[in-house]
Point group: C2
Chain length 164, copies 2
């Protein structure tokens, strides 16, 4: 278990995040029902994963963690197409989307990389983004509508297996 913790610490941000989303059992961080976005409970996440006494990330600051998400291209999901878990009863839960950060898709994970000031190393990501954006979002909206009809509290995507 101690060794496990050391492995986590040494990983890069996207890999570390993917691992944590899959292993967390408390709802601090989890996949949305579709498995294509991440649901983050700021309050729980701070307590469980940003505790300075047990450092997993180098910061204990939720703001710095959000900055990392943005630097890696995650975007907040707002407005009508949020996961139904993000409602007024769960004010601390926020949803983040990255085209290439999805449950069961470790094959895409290499495309999640840090945005740099100048030219990005994630060339492939840039190229494919515009082509995928349109249809994906459409599909997402339809499935979200269905979800809203049948949603039960705490329904969220359960990963089938851990690939790391």
């Amino acid at each position: 278990m101690f060794e496990e913790h050391c492995v986590l610490q040494s990983m890069r941000f996207p890999q570390k995040l993917w691992r944590i989303v899959n292993e967390c059992q408390t709802g601090a961080i989890r996949w949305s029902a579709n498995g294509d976005t991440v649901l983050l409970d700021y309050k729980k996440f701070q307590t469980e994963y940003l505790d300075a006494r047990r450092p997993i990330f180098k910061t204990s600051n939720i703001t710095s963690f959000i900055r990392q998400l943005n630097l890696y291209g995650f975007r907040k999901v707002t407005s009508h197409n949020r996961d139904p878990v993000c409602n007024s009863y769960n004010p601390h839960v926020h949803e983040f989307l990255h085209e290439n950060f999805r449950a069961d898709r470790t094959d895409l994970l290499f495309k999640v990389c840090r945005k740099t000031g100048g030219k990005s190393k994630c060339l492939q990501q840039e190229i494919t983004r515009s082509a995928e954006e349109g249809p994906r979002l459409q599909t997402n909206c339809v499935s979200r509508l269905k979800l809203c009809q049948v949603h039960l509290p705490n329904t969220s995507y359960k990963p089938k297996e851990f690939l790391f």
Copy 2:
């Protein structure tokens, strides 16, 4: 007490903040030992003053609260001239400085105003800042050195009277 709460809600940010710094008894927010900066315990402050069930500010988000501080010209105090309370034993305590936000100086409070994109309404503040900056900081460093020698835990400036 309920009425009191309504009054707080209707105040502008600097006045509201000044009031809270003076009335808070828990250490969530308080004056530094000198009374010229504000010590903010993110964790306690979130619980006590950003609770969505008892809204004082319109946000329950500590990040938005910090954005307000910055918009009004508060700056984080970093490096060696921090108040001794801001140490590794108090990881949630952060210190903020505004030239015109000080204990017992309500006469300066009108100069604490929102930075706008273009021209600021706080013309007087702009003019006096450069003249005051040098000597004030020097004095501050000396007194901080003394404080470091004699510092006792939880020592902080106690306001003499509430002027609102």
